[in-house]
């Protein structure tokens, strides 16, 4: 059994503990260790992706207990993809946090960052429903800390809302898990798939309730209407690099929906007919519409990007909600694209806020920011990607989704909404871009000895070196990734199609998880089923 499967969880956990225990007085060492840990995770994630890319399913039995009695980690194509996506995102985001000095504007940024990674990666890798809850909580509580990093009245106020709303979500998660355990007597995801498929039709009420409650838990994470209310303010208020990392947090919800509703409650399962297949798509369409309206109506750049996240989750969920291999494959491509694009936009919004006089992200006229050409160019590219215009990845993703929904009965609705909301998004982005970059005026009253200074909301707590090129390098790296995702759309799409095929043929997954023997103790009556 290869220990690499658990490395993406253990590595950040140990690194965070080490940072707290040993180097919490040394900003430079914190940065070095945090960055080294993140790069190491990226290497491991790439290895996992490579290993699973031929269809191999890696199983890791914690404590050497066989499933379903112990907890198992499972790395299949889907898990490995999201693990890789998270770790690819983490490196530029961390670089940005270091380069912009955000990490030193409060305590324990690096420890929380590592714990956040641990939570997200753990959620992608686990094969146990209750363990998924535990890792949701790990990633949530770390996100609470990161969100209010460096404090501020409004951030705390919005933080309260973010925490309370997610506490409601966690409560619902436990209700759902309790119901699932009460109905099936197990928690392992593969075992659940088997047991739920064998449930009698005259005992469907409980499991139906559990299925929709779980879906709503994941919909909260994925910010699907009408359970998305926590997101816009929280993301807009978070520090830039934190919001950029959060771009992948919503994908945890999307991942869970894909995992649970292909493995445990597959679309052809008789006992859950007439539930999510009915109303997930309308909810996704509404989410997309609302997100794009938010882009157009935003008064500030950070609000705009937050709504772009909502819109992109709507788009992603449209692709998921048709529950076909083509839909899932398109969704995976769009997930990769939208994670990178929204993260880049959050970082760019932060760059603008740092450099703009007064630090305001509003659309009011302000003097042009220093280095405006590069920032504007990058913003333009990221906006094109996000709005789904050619030639960047958003266009490819949108085409794939349009294509995947072609066979659906509600295709006319889907196409109409996607195409018209794209137009709205284009207008919204161009409004924002022209307000921030083009309508900037040259300050007449500026004294020659007082050039516009980059605004600094809070002075850094220490005098650690602060290389100024690093933020733009980080943003550039994200944009380069977006370009790569566009250029290699073909191979990626073939890979994602294979991933989707693996999801819709879960028999190997189930047999790997349930038929691998664990440690041998006297099995007198141990076999639960």
């Amino acid at each position: 059994m290869s220990h690499w499967v658990i490395a993406p969880v253990i590595l950040p956990a140990m690194m965070a503990a080490f940072i707290v225990l040993v180097v919490r007085f040394h900003p430079l060492l914190q940065r070095v260790f945090s960055l080294a840990g993140t790069v190491a995770i990226l290497a491991v994630a790439a290895g996992l992706y490579w290993t699973t890319s031929d269809g191999t399913i890696l199983l890791y039995q914690l404590g050497n207990w066989a499933a379903p009695f112990g907890i198992v980690l499972v790395a299949d194509r889907l898990s490995a993809l999201f693990v890789l996506l998270t770790s690819v995102l983490a490196v530029p985001v961390l670089l940005y946090a270091i380069g912009s000095g955000w990490d030193m504007r409060g305590r324990h940024f690096h420890a929380l960052f590592q714990f956040q990674l641990m939570g997200i990666l753990g959620a992608f890798l686990t094969g146990d429903a209750f363990n998924l809850f535990v890792f949701f909580e790990v990633l949530l509580i770390a996100s609470y800390g990161l969100m209010i990093h460096s404090g501020g009245a409004r951030r705390f106020r919005v933080g309260v809302q973010y925490v309370v709303y997610n506490l409601l979500g966690s409560t619902l998660f436990l209700f759902a898990l309790g119901t699932i355990y009460a109905e099936t007597g197990t928690l392992n995801m593969a075992d659940l798939a088997q047991r739920i498929a064998a449930l009698p039709m005259d005992d469907s009420a409980g499991i139906r309730v559990a299925a929709v409650m779980l879906l709503m838990v994941f919909a909260v994470k994925a910010a699907i209407l009408p359970l998305h209310f926590w997101l816009p303010a929280a993301y807009a208020t978070s520090p830039g690099p934190v919001a950029a990392l959060f771009a992948v947090m919503t994908k945890v919800g999307a991942y869970s929906i894909i995992r649970f509703y292909t493995l445990i409650f597959p679309p052809d399962l008789a006992i859950t007919q007439g539930l999510f297949d009915t109303w997930l798509l309308p909810a996704a369409l509404l989410t997309l519409t609302l997100g794009m309206l938010g882009i157009l109506g935003a008064r500030r750049l950070d609000d705009l990007v937050a709504f772009a996240v909502v819109g992109s989750m709507g788009m992603l969920m449209i692709a998921i909600s048709v529950f076909t291999p083509a839909g899932i494959a398109a969704a995976l491509y769009y997930a990769v694209h939208s994670t990178l694009a929204t993260a880049a936009l959050f970082l760019l919004a932060d760059v603008v806020g740092e450099r703009r006089a007064g630090g305001s992200l509003g659309y009011d006229p302000a003097p042009p920011i220093p280095g405006s050409g590069l920032v504007a160019g990058l913003f333009f590219a990221a906006a094109i990607a996000m709005a789904g215009l050619p030639p960047l990845s958003g266009f490819v993703g949108k085409l794939l989704i349009l294509n995947a929904t072609m066979a659906d009965a509600r295709m006319a609705w889907v196409w109409a909404v996607i195409l018209s909301t794209s137009l709205i998004a284009v207008i919204g982005f161009s409004r924002a871009g022209s307000a921030i970059f083009w309508k900037a005026y040259a300050p007449e009253a500026t004294l020659p000895d007082a050039p516009p200074q980059p605004a600094e909301p809070a002075p850094p707590l220490d005098a650690a070196p602060r290389p100024t090129a690093l933020p733009m390098v980080a943003v550039g790296a994200l944009m380069a990734l977006l370009v790569a995702v566009t250029v290699f759309a073909g191979p990626l799409q073939r890979n994602f199609a294979a991933t989707a095929a693996q999801l819709f043929a879960p028999a190997p997954y189930i047999s790997v998880v349930l038929e691998t023997p664990g440690r041998t103790v006297g099995h007198d009556d141990g076999e639960g089923h």
């Binding site: 209750f130 309260v160 506490l167 409560t171 898990l177 009460a182």
Partner: protein
């Protein structure tokens, strides 16, 4: 007995939701605590109820209650304690930095001095303390 447990869960959930829907942070926190009680009992009940059958192995005893939900509830209790602690400090931070313990946020109305004065005026602030 089952009815008692079920009605407890119902009452605790209802009380929790009602408190979460209040306008100030403290009742909201109390509401989340009540909700976590409710869901812990719920999760515990998913193993069904048993009296005098603790899951501690004894010679000659063969009937034990389901230990797994108990372990899950233990995890959930600890996690909800951590969450409560965090929500308390965030709420405290919100109150201390704006002297306003409303949970609702009005983006169009930035937190200003006059706002704080208003809070103090109707007894929400520290002016009301002895």
């Amino acid at each position: 007995m089952e009815l008692l447990v079920a009605s407890s869960v119902g009452v605790l959930t209802a009380a929790g939701i009602y408190m979460v829907l209040r306008l100030r942070t403290f009742p909201v926190i109390v509401g989340t605590a009540l909700l976590s009680y409710a869901v812990n009992v719920f999760l515990f009940a998913s193993g069904r109820l048993a009296v005098n059958q603790p899951p501690i192995l004894r010679d000659g005893v063969s009937a034990y209650t389901d230990p797994l939900p108990q372990a899950l509830v233990l995890t959930a209790i600890v996690i909800s304690f951590g969450m409560t602690a965090v929500v308390v400090i965030v709420a405290l931070g919100a109150y201390l930095s704006s002297r306003d313990d409303h949970v609702n946020d009005r983006p169009d109305r930035p937190i200003r001095q006059d706002h704080q004065d208003r809070q103090d005026h109707h007894g929400g602030g520290e002016g009301a303390q002895p």
